[in-house]
Symmetry: none
Subunit: 318 residues, 2 copies
């Protein structure tokens, strides 16, 4: 059983300890990395020794914010803290030796399993970074670097303040972080507004080739190898394109059929709104996934896959 | 010469008067309509008679927020107020009889010409709605409807808090508006997350027709009437497309040249990154606006406008 702490208690807990190692979760996002980086910097600013455990899956997008904070190989922590991580199985492989030895979990997931000795949990926060700001404010000054990392955490977990989790508190936190010197224009540009030339080309291609079916409730797009090559797009540019068709007003199922490079196979991604099982659609083709995001691969030509999907969609959407 | 008022003075000015008519600008956006609607509701809430002058170009996206506020045909105002409008030539045709009789201009454009008898101007505000919130707070309670209209104003003028004009104050305003009951999840979904079929088609068109110049530091796109028609896009779908070219990585100036429907003119929108004056570029063509977001209209063909812009861009980007 974990012991739940208040923000004030957690501040005192940290001040009473030293030699911190901060863990982030697998496939790290802005919230886990930004929360970890800011907490690490805050602890250092009050004279503590604190490091992050290097996360091998950190992408170039977020790497600058954790730069210089990773623990040296010989570091032996006295206090292991995890941020934004709901359960032990979400830690990366190199964190496995600490999984049963997490002293403090700071998190905003309602599904947090209470795996740590102590927990600072608040499921009402849009981002873990909101909670970390309050915690840091208990014991340290929020400098520009801390504010920057926290802005990364809060802005990315709320889709630049557009997702349903955004609250008055989220905006108040963002206001404070801007006041503390977070370069919000630059961060917004990098994190949200900037699109690569390749990405622009891919979206242009997708948006001009998308087909609508069944009173526009289904949107299907085929991306052939020839089309991909024409855009000059790389894998980063293709990231999450499967989410685009279902973001169109009125669309309940969005399907992306993409010919794989140097392979006779197609990768099919299905995204759906609540009430329609993406998983169920993919099961017809031996695939699977989640209720609203699933996929499969097929060695049939893209057009044939589409023709096989249509009657399934017809039944679902009728 | 206009007389400049403080927020407090403007509050007293309004309280001392009655029978208000509020004017919005041509091709009305969320900021002008949201500012006008909230001010109108606030004046009514303290017992004043106040109406908007119906803006014939109001799109379905924003129409719900001004619903029921338009002046009856026989209304004879005693005080004419304009919001978010930098100069007289930006008023719609049905406002022409009031153009030389604007008593108070409330605006955040640095290029405001001082056309009104009195002016409440603050070019430091991301949205006119930020200023209107402070003004309304001087004399009325901010109820849910007022907060909703102001959230429309502030969120749309900042691209859901992602544009460079967003500041700590903008976030503080958004936090207040959420506290006052603005339904931010619903508004964000309607205004930012959902994309219409027409919008998808417009973005597809824009992304496939964009041209890059000067080592890709300038991006220019021409949207002809034929192209617009082919997409079936309406004015709502065209909203804020000017922000897209400059959102591409490495682009420092993004220019959208759009042929206007049923008009021989083109509307040119210029967006720039810090250090490059969009205002300055537009000044060559008799236009204006903000440092990083400005525009002009021209009766020259789109290709000719582009050819005239290129040497100006060459000099700026060299």
């Amino acid at each position: 059983m974990t012991k739940h702490l208040t923000i004030k208690e957690t501040g005192l807990y940290l001040l009473a300890r030293d030699n911190f190692l901060i863990l982030t979760h697998r496939r790290p996002d802005g919230d886990t990395l930004g929360s970890a980086a800011s907490l690490c910097r805050a602890l250092k600013s009050v004279g503590k020794t604190a490091f992050l455990l290097a996360n091998p899956e950190t992408t170039p997008r977020y790497a600058p914010f954790t730069d210089g904070l990773d623990a040296p190989p010989d570091f032996s922590p006295a206090c292991v803290v995890s941020v934004d991580t709901a359960s032990e199985d979400l830690f990366p492989d190199n964190a496995q030796i600490y999984v049963n030895a997490v002293n403090l979990s700071i998190d905003h997931h309602p599904s947090n399993t209470g795996f740590a000795d102590f927990s600072l949990l608040d499921a009402g926060r849009a981002a873990c970074g909101e909670l970390v700001l309050d915690l840091i404010s208990e014991f340290a000054e929020v400098d520009t670097n801390i504010a920057t990392a926290l802005y990364v955490a809060v802005s990315t977990d709320t889709g630049c303040f557009s997702f349903d989790n955004t609250t008055a508190d989220t905006f108040a936190v963002a206001s404070k972080l801007a006041s503390f010197g977070a370069p919000i224009s630059e961060l917004n540009r990098t994190l949200f507004r900037a699109k690569s030339r390749g990405r622009i080309a891919v979206e242009g291609l997708l948006f001009t080739n998308i087909e609508f079916h069944f009173n526009d409730h289904a949107a299907i797009v085929i991306i052939s190898n020839a089309m991909s090559e024409q855009t000059g797009a790389d894998e980063d540019d293709m990231d999450n394109i499967a989410a685009l068709p279902v973001s169109i007003e009125g669309v309940e199922v969005g399907i992306t059929i993409r010919e794989l490079k140097n392979s006779p196979e197609c990768k099919v991604s299905v995204r759906s709104v609540e009430g329609i099982s993406a998983n169920g659609i993919c099961a017809y083709f031996g695939g699977g996934g989640h209720a609203r995001a699933a996929g499969f691969t097929s060695s049939e030509p893209a057009d044939v896959i589409k023709e096989r999907l249509l009657p399934i969609l017809a039944e679902l959407l009728s």
